[in-house]
């Protein structure tokens, strides 16, 4: 069953991953491949837009957790945006707001990255 997709685009010079569908222990590898692909290309300012992410299990959060230190050690960040309440609640239950920059809107992430690079 194909119930999860990751699409990549560039907006204002930043790489954005659009997540759609349900992220669980089966589909987490697709997110992992997309993140690894960007990091391997030294693209370390990454925005993950979760507007169409309907569901996340801890395997999905584990992928985010596994790469954040690498990206930050290279001077970048992964910023998460546009989460619905149900998805945000899972991040919140696990204490992720202490680790990750979770923003209301993709534009906020673009602004923050632009300020830091400007």
């Amino acid at each position: 069953m194909k119930n999860f997709t990751v699409n990549q685009r560039i907006t204002a010079g930043f790489y954005i991953l659009d997540l759609k569908g349900e992220l669980d222990a089966h589909t987490a590898s697709q997110l992992e491949d997309a993140l690894k692909n960007l990091i391997n290309k030294n693209q370390n300012n990454i925005i993950v837009n979760c507007e169409n992410l309907e569901y996340i299990a801890s395997a999905g959060l584990g992928v985010f957790m596994a790469y954040i230190e690498d990206v930050r050690s290279m001077g970048g960040d992964i910023k998460l945006t546009n989460m619905n309440d149900k998805v945000y609640n899972v991040f919140d239950l696990l204490g992720f707001p202490a680790l990750y920059d979770i923003l209301e809107d993709e534009k906020d992430a673009v602004s923050k990255f632009s300020e830091n690079n400007g």
Binding site: M1, N3, E22, D24, A25, H26, Y55, A57, S58, A59, L61, G62, V63, M65, A66, I68, E69, K86, V90, L93, L94, G95, F96, A98, L99
Partner: protein, 140 residues
């Protein structure tokens, strides 16, 4: 108290089938009038417990089977998952320290905390070579 309605599903131990089980649980829960929010919690808890069985009890051997039993009445909804894999050790259920996890690049260990946080009761049984986890959510 009205009688429990019981539904069964057996799946091979593969993460390919997680979405199907989430849909199975959600469909029957909604039929019995449970809210979308309640069913989100139940779906996530069941997903996490299945993932633990697939990865740890069966070590990703997809020839093994997992039995799922869903019991529902107007007061509560219970899901029991049964496997014949390695016995399951329940560790401390504190909220994971995600800052420490990120430093160690550790990924697991979050599922059990979620299960116990999202459900009203969680019980473990080991009998005759079979492991069972029974998770219940009160209608509230």
């Amino acid at each position: 108290m009205d009688s429990l309605t019981t539904y069964h599903l057996t799946i091979p131990a593969t993460t390919l089938r997680l979405a199907e089980v989430r849909s199975f649980v959600e469909k029957h829960g909604k039929e019995h009038g449970y809210s979308a929010e309640q069913m989100h919690d139940v779906r996530l808890a069941v997903d996490e417990a299945l993932t633990n069985i697939i990865k740890h009890a069966y070590e990703k051997d997809s020839t093994k089977k997992i039995d799922i039993e869903l019991e529902i009445n107007s007061e509560k909804l219970c899901v029991t998952l049964a496997d014949t894999g390695k016995a399951f050790k329940v560790r401390a259920l504190k909220q994971p320290n995600v800052l420490e996890y990120a430093r160690q690049k550790k990924r697991g260990g979050m599922g059990l905390y979620l299960i116990h946080t999202l459900m009203d009761s969680v019980d473990y049984y080991r009998k005759e070579g079979k492991n069972e986890i029974r998770m219940c959510k009160n209608r509230g």
